[in-house]
């Protein structure tokens, strides 16, 4: 029996996508839930997985634009061959694919926590076709739970060498990809150097198609610049208290919560506090009306090997520091694996971008709509500062807040940023709400 592989519903505003790549070759035997293809849309890049096990018959080639619901391949379930055993049970109930593979969750209602659904998905990202890898590469890919298709191969015919995996791992931050700068006026960080085709010696230029994600990003960045009155205010913050707190409780925190304590949770907390202090920043223009939000969904810019995405930490005001850290790590891992759903990306009221992980000292971030402000974190640098009329060395970070001047005035924006500075410089203030 043949089961259709359809382009799944991706989200309300998305009707088409770009079939970037078949992860398995035409005619191969696939297991149920094995990733089949990489779909790029305006907003995200995602894997579409197999609904049933069997032989894959590709109907639409790489590089084609595909519509939601379009049949792009068939899986002949009678030709299951040597597909992994795990796939078999599924066969009997394999009525023609009613539910398209990898259907994203309905847009979740605000009041519900958003975590459980994606958590189980992660575990099952099955190894692509590991048998095609060399033994050492296979071992590394399995040990580090990597997607081999994301690793650029430099061997014969693009084979992945052990050295390729090692340098891939070196480039990749230790656990999850670090939060990264969002749209800033600096050269945007999106495509990392890794996966790009290496230039042949002597070639002065190489040309390749822009990914959907990148195209959309480009459009949006220009659009924001053209439709808002963007302005940036700066300040600096003494990080010594936060750093001391972090180094003091790092171990305990990790033991207790199973997740590392980073700076990001402090900044998310501080942003929530500042949004509560200056509610004008948590607002947006809609036509001739001003919409003020009373919830605190914070976008975190994440740089991955396949581009920049801004997943959202929902209801950040109701989460503990540990929950925030866990949520960021989870979203970053999903971003790296391309398993983010559109719901993970929509509706941030405020965004934080950390150019500091790449060493940026100062930048002017670009707004991430519908949010009316974005905070840019930067590198921490020991600098001489004056405290109580003495010159002392302190770990300092410049902060930038870009905001839409149509709705936020200078007074609000400066107050807002000053509040973040106060919360970070003296975290106790957040606790005591003073």
């Amino acid at each position: 029996m043949a089961v259709d592989v359809k382009i799944p519903e991706i989200g309300e505003s998305i009707s088409e996508g770009f079939l970037a790549e078949w992860s398995v070759p035409d005619g191969s035997i696939v297991a149920a839930d094995q990733p089949l293809l990489v779909l790029e849309t305006d907003k995200i890049t995602m894997n579409v997985t197999a609904d049933a096990a069997g032989r894959l018959e590709v109907l639409v080639g790489e590089g084609e634009t595909v519509q939601v619901g379009q049949v792009v391949a068939r899986i002949d379930t009678d030709a299951e061959g040597d597909a992994p055993a795990a796939a078999e049970a599924k066969d009997e109930e394999a009525e023609p694919a009613e539910t398209p593979p990898d259907t994203p969750p309905e847009k979740e209602s605000r009041s519900e926590p958003t975590e459980q659904q994606p958590a189980e998905k992660e575990a099952e990202t099955p190894p692509a076709d590991l048998s095609r890898l060399t033994p050492a590469v296979r071992r590394l890919v399995e040990e580090h739970d990597l997607d081999p298709s994301a690793i650029p191969g430099s061997g014969k015919d693009g084979r992945i060498l052990k050295g390729d995996v090692i340098s891939f791992l070196d480039r990749r931050p230790a656990t999850a990809p670090k939060p990264a700068p969002t749209p800033t006026v600096e050269p945007p960080s999106a495509p990392r150097p890794g996966p790009q085709p290496a230039a042949e010696p002597g070639e002065r230029q190489t040309r390749r198609p822009m990914s959907r994600l990148r195209q959309r990003l480009a459009e949006r960045l220009v659009e924001v610049q053209q439709t808002s009155a963007m302005l940036t205010t700066f300040n600096e913050v003494d990080m010594s208290r936060v750093m001391a707190l972090r180094s003091r409780y790092k171990e305990t925190f990790k033991e207790r919560h199973g997740v590392g304590l980073g700076f990001m949770s402090f900044f998310v907390k501080a942003a929530v506090d500042a949004l509560k202090t200056v509610p004008e920043v948590n607002a947006a223009i809609d036509g001739d009306q001003v919409v003020t939000n009373h919830y605190y969904d914070i976008g975190i810019a994440v740089s991955t090997d396949h581009g920049l995405v801004v997943p959202v930490v929902r209801e950040a005001d109701r989460l503990s520091m540990a929950e925030i850290e866990a949520r960021i790590a989870e979203l970053a891992a999903k971003a790296q694996e391309r398993s983010l759903q559109l719901a993970d990306l929509q509706g941030a009221v405020f965004t934080i971008s950390n150019g500091g992980v790449f060493g940026s000292l100062m930048s002017t971030p670009i707004l991430n709509p519908p949010g009316s402000a974005i905070l840019g974190m930067h590198a921490i640098q020991k600098r001489p500062v004056v405290v109580d009329d003495e010159i002392v060395i302190r770990p300092m970070m410049y902060l930038a807040l870009s905001y839409d001047h149509r709705i936020v005035d200078g007074r609000e924006s400066v107050t807002f940023l000053k509040r973040i500075v106060d919360c970070i410089a003296d975290p106790d203030r957040m606790l005591l709400e003073i």
């Binding site: 033994p135 050492a136 071992r139 061997g155 060498l161 052990k162 090692i166 340098s167």
Partner: protein, 465 residues
């Protein structure tokens, strides 16, 4: 005048393989060879006859010295040198005839005579029946090399000989002097030592097989010395006197001072030089490089349009298989395909007992290039198959990049390593890591297990040490 897409001058392994590949790709090909017998130095007076004699002489020595240990009682063992030579000749004949058949099968026209490049697109062949003119769209020069000589010791074919004569002595010399401890000197030295000669090898450099990894060269030298070969390293031949029935060589070394060696024959095995004369290269305007080889670019093109050169005529190691690969590359280039030779993965073998085989770079080369590497070694002695064979001498050494673990060099001294090296060459061609080799299942009991253990040893994970 006959017109061809490609005229190949020289029917050695480079030339005849080039001709076959070009014919496969649909080109009209002529192959010019001055000898009646095809196959060049390799088949006629090189690789093949020496391997025949090495095998025969090894049987003699094994029967004399090792059979008893196996419980095989052989009685009196004697040598029939004429029969041994006849067997060698028969093997050479079968193979050279085989090349002729291959040419017929591939419709390559063989033209016998001395080929001369007259111009970029014209070759004349001076044969027994006169001169043939060939019009060539492309020419591939593949005339190979000839033994190098020493200025103070001209070859006479009798007392002072090259490898060609040393493959066909009619009786075993009592004392054979060998100048040069490269592959030829050590292989032919081994043949005649096994057949009963007292062999002294004189080498100017401080190691045998100077292209090899130092540790491996040392291991080979030790093994050969134990067998009774007298090897003098760091030693120069400063004078020679050729008498009626013997030759006297004056040698000098830092350590031993001056000394006179006597032998009934001298094998001069100091390398080979490209056969650039006699084919009209100079007249045609073919440029040579500083070392007197035909200058070629990365695609083996000479300075003349449509004229290519391969094998011993050009830069790189003088090895039959390197010439073959270049021949294929030239044929493919001419046919419009991307012809390519990977010079980093060309194996090199010395067929002594133990054998020496290597591919890639040596420790010294890596150190000089500043490449960080890790080393894995494993001996043949603990290996079950090596014990059963009774050949326990030797080791495998693997050099892998410190960071990426990619194989950079694989070096072997030991039993049948000429065959074992192929695994390493494939691995290097595919740019495998030492771990890839280590995680590949190897049959038990085989000598290949030593390769795997050496690969494991790169990461200090040897199982049997």
């Amino acid at each position: 005048m006959a017109t061809f897409d490609l005229v190949v001058i020289g029917a050695g392994p480079g030339g005849y393989v080039c001709a076959i590949r070009a014919a496969q790709l649909g080109l009209e090909v002529a192959l010019v060879e001055k000898h009646r017998s095809l196959g060049g130095t390799c088949l006629n007076v090189g690789c093949i006859p020496s391997k025949a004699l090495l095998e025969s002489s090894e049987i003699l020595e094994a029967t004399r010295t090792r059979a008893a240990e196996h419980g095989v009682v052989a009685g009196e063992v004697s040598l029939d040198l004429a029969a041994m030579m006849a067997r060698k000749d028969r093997i050479v004949g079968e193979l050279t005839d085989g090349v002729g058949l291959l040419m017929k099968k591939n419709k390559v026209r063989v033209v016998t005579g001395r080929g001369e490049l007259v111009a970029a697109n014209r070759v004349t062949v001076h044969g027994d029946d006169g001169v043939t003119e060939l019009e060539a769209k492309h020419v591939c020069l593949a005339m190979g090399s000839v033994p190098a000589t020493l200025p103070f010791l001209p070859m006479d074919g009798e007392r002072v000989v090259s490898s060609t004569e040393a493959l066909a002595f009619d009786k075993v010399p009592k004392k054979l002097l060998v100048i040069g401890a490269g592959a030829v000197g050590l292989e032919l030295g081994s043949v005649w030592r096994r057949l009963g000669a007292q062999v002294t090898v004189v080498e100017m450099l401080p190691m045998v097989t100077p292209f090899a990894d130092k540790q491996m060269a040392k291991a080979l030298e030790r093994a050969l010395t134990e067998q009774g070969m007298d090897i003098r390293l760091d030693t120069r031949v400063t004078a020679a006197e050729v008498l009626e029935t013997k030759v006297k060589l004056t040698i000098e070394s830092e350590k031993g001072g001056a000394e006179t060696l006597e032998g009934d024959r001298v094998l001069v095995a100091v390398g080979r030089r490209p056969a650039t004369s006699g084919a009209g290269l100079e007249e045609a305007g073919i440029a040579l490089d500083d070392a007197g080889r035909v200058a070629v670019d990365d695609h083996l093109r000479t300075n003349l349009p449509d004229v290519y050169a391969i094998g011993d005529l050009v830069r790189g190691p003088m090895l039959a298989h390197k010439a073959e690969d270049e021949g294929v590359a030239v044929a493919e280039t001419i046919a419009g395909l991307p012809g390519h030779v990977n010079y980093d993965a060309i194996p090199n073998v010395v067929y002594t007992e133990p054998e020496l085989a290597m591919v890639g770079r040596t420790e010294a080369e890596l150190k000089e290039a500043g490449v960080p590497f890790a080393t894995g070694r494993f001996m043949f002695r603990p290996n079950g198959r090596a014990k059963a064979l009774g050949h326990e001498v030797g080791l495998v050494k693997i050099l892998a990049h410190k960071d990426t673990d990619e194989l950079l060099g694989v070096h072997m001294v030991g039993p049948r390593v000429s065959e074992l090296i192929a695994e390493a060459v494939v691995a290097m061609e595919l740019r495998a890591s030492a771990e890839d080799l280590a995680r590949t299942c190897h049959a038990h009991p085989t000598l290949t297990e030593v390769v795997r253990e050496a690969a494991l040893a790169v990461d200090k994970r040897s199982l049997h040490s």
